[in-house]
C-alpha cells in the first residue's frame, strides 16, 4: 500500500514543507527538505511519531491542589487520547515526591507516568 504524507519540519525556523512517500510502512521518498535534519525527522515522524505527554493530577491535602506529571519517555502519538482518559481517573494524596511513579505502564506503552514536582502536606 502506497501513501503520501505531508508534514512540517521542526528542526529549525525554516519549517520546510515536506512530502513523504510510504509503501507498506517503509519510507520510499522524502522531498521538500533543505537539509539532513529534515530528512531524519520526516523518516521517524511518518513511521513512528512519538511525544512526551504532560498534564496535572488533583492532589488532596497538599500545599497546592494539583501536581504536574509527565510520561517518563515518549509515547506513540495515537495513544495520547487514551492516556489522557486514564489520567482523568487518578486522584492523589499529599505528600507527593518529584519523580514518584504514579502509573507503571500507561496504556500498554511500557512507559511510566511520573510526578514532576513535590507537593508537601498542608
Amino acid at each position: 500500500m502506497s501513501d503520501k504524507q505531508e508534514l512540517t519540519c521542526i528542526g529549525c525556523p525554516m519549517g520546510c514543507q515536506m512530502e513523504v512517500e510510504v509503501e507498506d510502512g517503509v519510507v520510499k521518498r522524502i522531498t521538500g527538505h533543505a537539509c539532513r535534519k529534515g530528512e531524519l525527522y520526516a523518516a521517524k515522524e511518518v513511521v513512528d511519531p512519538r511525544r512526551i505527554v504532560t498534564s496535572v493530577l488533583p492532589v488532596d491535602g497538599g500545599v497546592v491542589g494539583m501536581v504536574p506529571v509527565k510520561t517518563a519517555g515518549d509515547v506513540p502519538k495515537h495513544k495520547i487520547r487514551d492516556i489522557m482518559k486514564v489520567l482523568k481517573t487518578i486522584r492523589l494524596e499529599a505528600p507527593v515526591e518529584a519523580g514518584r511513579v504514579i502509573v507503571a505502564d500507561l496504556c500498554g506503552t511500557g512507559v511510566r507516568l511520573v510526578a514532576t514536582r513535590s507537593v508537601t502536606r498542608r
Binding site: 519540519c9 529549525c12 519549517g15 511525544r51 505527554v53 491542589g65 509527565k70 502519538k77
Partner: protein, 419 residues
C-alpha cells in the same frame, strides 16, 4: 538599616541562577526577594517539557528545571524571603520591601540584580471593541488556572496571538477536553517556535490563521463569540473579510513586556525597543552597581539562555562589590538594518570576558541573508543564514582580541545584509 552585599529582586529562573553564580564567585552575603510563596517563578506553571537542553543536556519540564536551581540555592544556604514584595528601589541601592511577616523593611545593598521577569500584554493594550464579559484571559493566566489551580477557563476557545504560551495552551486545553477553534496571528508569520506550531496545533488539527486578528468581542456577561478578520500588509482589517466565530473564551497571547517599574523608580535608562534596562557587557545598568538579567532585561525564548545570562550578572555583581569594576569608556554596539536591538548596548574592552555574547532579534523574516558585524568601517563577520526570524533570538560572539587589535575602535555594528 539592614545592609547586604547583594540583593536579588525576583526568585524566578534569572534570580536563582544569579544567586548561585554570585555564591560560587565567592560572595556569602546574598539575599533573594520573591513575592510569591515559592521560588521558581513562571516555571512552576510551565508543566510541558523542552526546558534544560542546553544547561542540563536533558529535556525537563518547567517545575523540574526550577527544582534544580531551587536545590542549588538551598544547598548553598542562600537566604530567600518569600511572600515579600519590593515596592521601591533607589539609585543609592536602597530597596524597600513589604511583607505580612516583616512589615516594611529597608535594606541597603552594595549591588543589586534586577530579575523581575516580564508580564503579559493585556487586552487593554489592544483596543478590541466590545463589552467586558467574563471569558477573556491572557494565555499565562489561563495556564495558571489549569496547571496550578486546576480550573478550566472555558470549553470553546479562540486564541489571539501565536506566541509560544498561546500555542502551548492550545494543546493543553485540547488535552483537557476543550475545543480550540483557531489561533489568529496578526503578523504574516508566527512568533512561536516551529516545534510548538507542529506539536501543539498541527497534531490536534487546530488552524493557525496568519494575517488575521480579532476585531470584536461579542457577549455582555460572558464571551459569546468573536469577529475574526483578515488584515492587509499594514495590519488593518480588510472590509468584507469578517467572520463570526462562536466561543465562550478568548485567550490573548500577544506579547510580553519586561516588568520595569522598579527600574524606572531608580532612574535607570530604559531601552525603547526592549523596554528593559540599557546594559553593558557586564549587564550593568546606567546606575553603577545595579545589574539586570533575564526577561526583565529582554524577553527570551529559552530559559536556558536566561540562566546563562543571569549567571553573568551574578558574577559581575560580586566583582562590583569587590571593587573590581573599571571606569573606562565603552565601545557602543549599534544596530544596523534588520536588527531591532542588541543586549548589551556597549562593551568595555578592558573588562570584557574573552568572548562576549551579544543577543538580539531581527525586525522581520529574512531568508538566505547574511548576519554581519562591522568594527567601525570594516566588516569582520559575514555569516550566511538560511533564515532569520523575530521569533528566535540570535547571537553574535565578540572576541576580546578584536579590541586589542583596534585600540581606537569607536563602534560595533550588527546588521542583516542581502549579500
Amino acid at each position: 538599616m539592614e545592609k547586604r552585599d547583594i540583593v536579588i529582586i525576583g526568585g524566578g529562573p534569572a534570580g536563582l541562577a544569579a544567586a548561585v553564580a554570585a555564591y560560587d564567585a565567592g560572595n556569602r552575603d546574598i539575599l533573594i526577594f520573591e513575592r510569591d510563596s515559592v521560588l521558581g517563578g513562571i516555571l512552576n506553571q510551565c508543566i510541558h517539557n523542552g526546558f534544560g537542553l542546553h544547561v542540563f543536556k536533558e529535556e525537563l519540564t518547567g517545575p523540574e528545571y526550577a527544582a534544580r536551581y531551587v536545590g542549588m540555592v538551598e544547598d548553598r544556604r542562600i537566604e530567600a524571603r518569600l511572600d515579600t514584595m519590593v515596592i521601591d528601589l533607589t539609585a543609592e541601592r536602597i530597596v524597600t520591601t513589604i511583607s505580612e511577616q516583616d512589615g516594611l523593611v529597608q535594606i541597603e545593598a552594595q549591588a543589586i540584580i534586577l530579575a523581575m521577569g516580564c508580564r503579559e500584554r493585556p487586552r487593554g493594550a489592544l483596543n478590541i471593541p466590545g463589552a467586558r464579559p467574563a471569558g477573556i484571559f491572557s494565555a499565562g493566566t489561563a495556564q495558571r488556572f489549569v496547571n496550578i489551580e486546576g480550573y478550566m477557563p472555558g470549553r470553546d476557545i479562540v486564541i489571539l496571538g501565536s506566541g509560544d504560551i498561546g500555542l502551548i495552551m492550545a494543546r493543553r486545553l485540547t488535552l483537557e477536553g476543550a475545543k480550540v477553534r483557531m489561533v489568529c496571528e496578526i503578523m504574516p508569520y508566527s512568533g512561536g517556535l516551529k516545534r510548538n506550531i507542529v506539536q501543539c496545533l498541527d497534531d490536534y488539527g487546530i488552524p493557525l490563521k496568519l494575517s488575521h486578528t480579532v476585531t470584536k468581542i461579542h457577549g455582555r456577561d460572558r464571551v459569546e463569540g468573536v469577529t475574526v478578520a483578515a488584515v492587509d500588509e499594514n495590519r488593518r482589517p480588510i472590509p468584507g473579510s469578517e467572520e463570526y466565530v462562536p466561543c465562550d473564551t478568548l485567550l490573548l497571547s500577544v506579547g510580553l513586556i519586561p516588568e520595569n517599574e522598579l527600574t524606572r523608580k531608580a532612574g535607570i535608562a530604559i531601552h525603547p525597543k526592549t523596554q528593559g534596562a540599557i546594559v553593558d557587557e557586564s549587564l550593568s545598568t546606567s546606575v553603577p552597581g545595579i545589574f539586570a538579567a533575564g526577561n526583565v532585561l529582554h524577553v527570551h525564548d529559552l530559559v536556558d539562555n536566561v540562566s546563562e545570562e543571569a549567571e553573568l550578572a551574578g558574577r559581575n555583581a560580586v566583582a562590583f562589590v569587590a571593587g573590581r569594576a573599571g571606569g573606562e569608556d565603552g565601545v557602543g554596539v549599534e544596530t544596523g538594518p534588520g536588527v531591532r536591538y542588541t543586549v548589551p548596548a556597549a562593551i568595555h574592552p578592558g573588562a570584557a570576558t574573552p568572548l562576549t555574547t551579544v543577543r538580539f532579534r531581527t525586525d522581520n523574516v529574512y531568508k538566505d541573508a547574511f548576519l554581519s558585524v562591522y568594527l567601525d568601517g570594516d566588516r569582520v563577520q559575514h555569516l550566511r543564514k538560511r533564515i532569520l526570524t523575530p521569533g528566535e533570538m540570535e547571537t553574535v560572539v565578540i572576541p576580546k582580541k578584536w579590541f586589542a587589535d583596534r585600540p581606537a575602535l569607536k563602534k560595533i555594528r550588527i546588521l542583516v545584509e542581502k549579500e
